[in-house]
Subunit: 282 residues, 2 copies
């Protein structure tokens, strides 16, 4: 496995690989890899000859009061996990390499970027779309994989790829969970033992939503109420949102649809956890 | 010469050409080609094996009260000029192909996009950077050429290419002028005979600036005054700006620099004309 730290070397390498007709897949990450990332690497490994895992804690997707400086970092461990899962190249630039002085260009999507996560993190998605556009131009992949855990991010990135005509096939991989249901996240390390235990409430509330919808409930507000009650029973710091959406348009819905995306964000202390599920009602 | 109208065919064609190690150059235009465009095509023709001239009147770079619907169009004539100058492929998509329903993603640069042209045309440069980013992803060029006539556009596109890591070499080609000095522009056809004659005032004012600076004038305000006097003598509808800038930073300057970009925009009726020159003071 090769580690590349500069844009120029990564572009040169990718260009050569493309000329050799090798198909390249990218797994964009912020590092501190866990089994969720490993599952993305293993999945794209099946599809392409060359897997590039990028590791970059992207400053432009953090708000001023967020955890950019404390976001967990451990390159040695990341290298090991990336290699074990089947990475050929780790692209590991520093912030100056990605955002040199005088950086001024952003990629942004309207509308969907201002609801749910975008409401709580106003410049977050602009940072995500900008860095992914850059990574696409640097790594020149044929394919990219993102996790379903960050479902709004996946939706927005698909929109960006379509709108800007990136010739990159995007695949979305399912959420990987701990045995007790907690969705894997690099931020789970922030949780103290009690919070870690309570955090299963997100997954349990999604299972409850599935049950209620399976039993015939079609009023999203009533499903939300029951989910809230379950989550409030573990005394989280705050429920940021519990949303019911059309997974194809990302529009919120009051009625349960044949396929409904149920997405939520809950804070325990200063740790924000996300989870979601697509629930079929027939 | 081939005409391609869909994104999918253009991407497939470019991908095949790249795999054959052909170097691709793009000349992005809005059509109604003139000798200025032809000079861009001829210049890039020297550098690459395949020249793609895109012809697309880009709706997102026109303001609501601007001339999008009346912008001159003549494909048959454009085809002839493009071919004569050495184009291999004309990429000629329609608006639905470039901006399908639900389009929501924009590329924009901060700061420089809000001065001069950006002040008079607030969403103009966002439209330009967005469509050029799309064209780069569709045509997959190794090189792109833009005209010095739209100097702020050229500056912003260079910034975009650098910031988003497009692996595209950008070259800027000199302004092509009529024998009497008027910079070529597709919009010159809007001018009535009297306006056409008066329009040489832009070029004459730039020559005057050169003379004054050559004679030792270092106060930009005084050079501007003399340029204004010259232009006002032909009674234009409005002088939008006469600006003195550092060509490397695009920052306005009060003192004449060793190299000063003098840029101006003047209206005759509803026709806005641009011109500029880089003036050396030593």
């Amino acid at each position: 496995m090769k580690i590349i730290r500069t844009v120029a070397e990564m572009q040169r390498t990718s260009e050569e690989l493309r000329l050799q007709q090798k198909h390249i897949g990218i797994v964009p990450t912020m590092g501190y890899l866990h089994d969720g990332h490993a599952s993305l690497i293993r999945a794209i490994r099946q599809e392409v000859e060359i897997v590039v895992t990028s590791i970059f804690v992207n400053p432009t997707q953090f708000g001023p009061s967020e955890d950019f400086s404390t976001y967990p970092r451990d390159l040695a461990r990341d290298e090991h996990i990336a290699q074990q899962a089947g990475t050929d190249i780790v692209f590991y630039p520093d912030a100056k390499e990605m955002y040199p002085d005088g950086f001024k260009t952003y990629v942004s999507t309207d509308t969907v970027a201002t609801i749910l996560e975008g409401k709580f993190r106003p410049t977050h998605f602009r940072g995500v779309t900008t860095v992914v556009a850059k990574l696409f131009n640097i790594v020149k992949p044929h394919m990219a994989i993102f996790g379903q855990k960050d479902v709004q991010q996946a939706f927005i990135l698909r929109q960006m790829v379509r709108d800007l005509n990136f010739d990159v096939r995007v695949i979305i991989a399912p959420i990987v969970r701990e045995p007790d249901g907690l969705a894997l996240s690099s931020r789970n390390v922030y949780l103290n033992p009690q919070e870690r235990k309570d955090a299963t409430a997100l997954f349990r509330s999604l299972k409850l939503a599935e049950e209620l919808i399976g039993a015939g409930e079609r009023d999203a507000a009533r499903v939300r109420e029951e989910m809230e009650r379950l989550i409030q029973s573990v005394n989280p710091t705050q429920i940021d949102y519990i949303a019911f959406l059309d997974p194809d348009s990302f529009e919120e819905t009051r009625r349960i649809l044949p396929r409904t995306l149920v997405a939520l964000a809950v804070r325990f202390g200063s740790t924000r956890l996300l989870d979601n599920a697509i629930v079929d009602s027939k």
